[in-house]
Amino acid sequence: MSKLHVSTTVNGDTVEYLCDPRETLLDCLRDKLNLTGAKEGCGTGDCGACSVTVDGRLVCSCLMLGVEAEGKQIETVEGIADGDILHPLQKKMIEYAALQCGICTPGVLVAAKSLLEKNPNPTEEETRYWLAGNLCRCTGYDKIIRAVMDTAAEMREAS
């Protein structure tokens, strides 16, 4: 099995790697690019801990092959903050204690950011359904939902 060469863009940086065709984008991000922010919680697309965006579209990086990233624009949790300025979602997640163990947090942040880009004024129900693919076992979601909705309100006021 020969490896395939992939050129892609991750958080704005041009990167290249060689991968086995069986390796997922998540494997490549974590093991080849050392971007370990995205987590593998299930490997079956059920937990959302590996969420990234590909050409602006929210996906599970465990359900995409590394070779499919060729020529794409990938965004991960590592790219959410702007230099030393945290994204409002990141600030609110901390402020609301919307994380306990923090393993789901990268995926939740990527997914929530994607939500707010598409819908700056989500209802609680819309927020809950959008994030239904991001499992959290610690919080019961209460503080996550409040943090996301409060971020949305703050970003609406700011804009």
């Binding site: 065709p21 069986r22 697309g45 995409m64 939500l115 693919g133």
Partner: protein, 288 residues
């Protein structure tokens, strides 16, 4: 595993026809990658069809019918400005599959070719009368969706064949469709039972209907008796009860980790009624 990304369906078909061992086509990959990761199925040949021109297009034809590329995702279907107005049941059925993340990748064709009797989009497509173009070594053929699955994990596609386009009929006037499924949670589950209904009215009376059931038999069922139970009616309580009875009678389910025979049989009737009411309301323009 060898990975290919052909530029045409003919090329894809030829690759598959000449491959040895297990061959899989990759569109959204939401089933293929799960099987790969869990080592249930490790294909020797994987053919990624997403580099073929137009595979993500959603097009309304001059006659009002729709042609969908095989890699058009659930998210793209939901975001389309007019597809969901014509076929809300089909779009919603697709949208029920998995999370937002899954919607970013999953496709109607993948859902169909996975061969699961519980595939959410399939009953909706069957009720809607959707057909697909199958491209193979011998050329193209048109096949009704209900003729693709032949059993759990099995399809009627032969070696070298793949689906190259999805065709949804023109909706026409005074018509509506709906799909409902039962899952124990609100999201992220495989259907325990699914029911799709598409119907047309003349005034208050149902003149055409197609009713399909998922997860109650080895393949998705198109149930003529259900259609007959409501055609000619105004979807009054008697017709709805007859519909439910026909739906339950058509079930040939199994007991498994997701549900029991008794539960599936009972709930198939309940969902058929509820879906029919939504489709009826949509046909009357009450709910778009």
């Amino acid at each position: 595993m060898n990975y290919h990304s052909p530029a045409s369906f003919a090329e894809a078909s030829a690759l598959a026809a000449n491959a040895t061992g297990i061959t899989r086509f990759l569109a959204g990959g939401t089933d293929v990658l799960v099987q790969l990761r869990s080592e249930l199925v490790t294909p020797e040949t994987l053919i990624d069809i997403k580099k073929i021109d137009g595979v993500s297009d959603i097009t309304q034809n001059a006659d009002g019918s729709w042609t969908l590329g095989v890699a058009a995702t659930g998210a793209e279907m939901s975001e389309h400005p007019t597809l969901g107005r014509d076929w809300p049941g089909v779009v919603e059925a697709m949208d029920l599959i998995g999370s937002t993340q899954i919607q970013g990748r999953a496709t109607l064709t993948g859902n169909l070719c996975n061969g699961s009797p519980a595939a959410d989009s399939v009953p909706a497509m069957v009720a809607a009368g959707v057909t697909v173009t199958v491209t193979g070594p011998g050329g193209d053929r048109e096949v009704a969706v209900e003729d693709i699955p032949t059993g759990p994990g099995k399809t009627s596609l032969t070696k070298g064949e793949l689906i190259s386009a999805v065709h949804i009929p023109a909706r026409g006037d005074n018509a509506g469709d709906a799909y409902l499924r039962f899952i124990p949670r609100t999201e992220m589950d495989i259907a325990v039972v699914g029911a799709g209904v598409s119907l047309r009215l003349d005034g208050d009376t149902v003149t055409e209907a197609r009713v399909s059931l998922g997860a109650v038999a080895p393949t998705v069922l198109l149930v003529e008796d259900c259609a007959e139970a409501i055609i000619g009616s105004t979807l009054d309580d008697t017709a709805l009860e007859a519909l439910a009875a026909a739906a339950s009678a058509a079930c040939k389910p199994i007991d498994d980790k997701r549900g029991t025979i008794a539960f599936r049989t009972e709930v198939a009737g309940v969902l058929a009624k509820r879906a029919a009411k939504i489709a009826y309301a949509r046909a009357k323009g009450e709910d778009l």
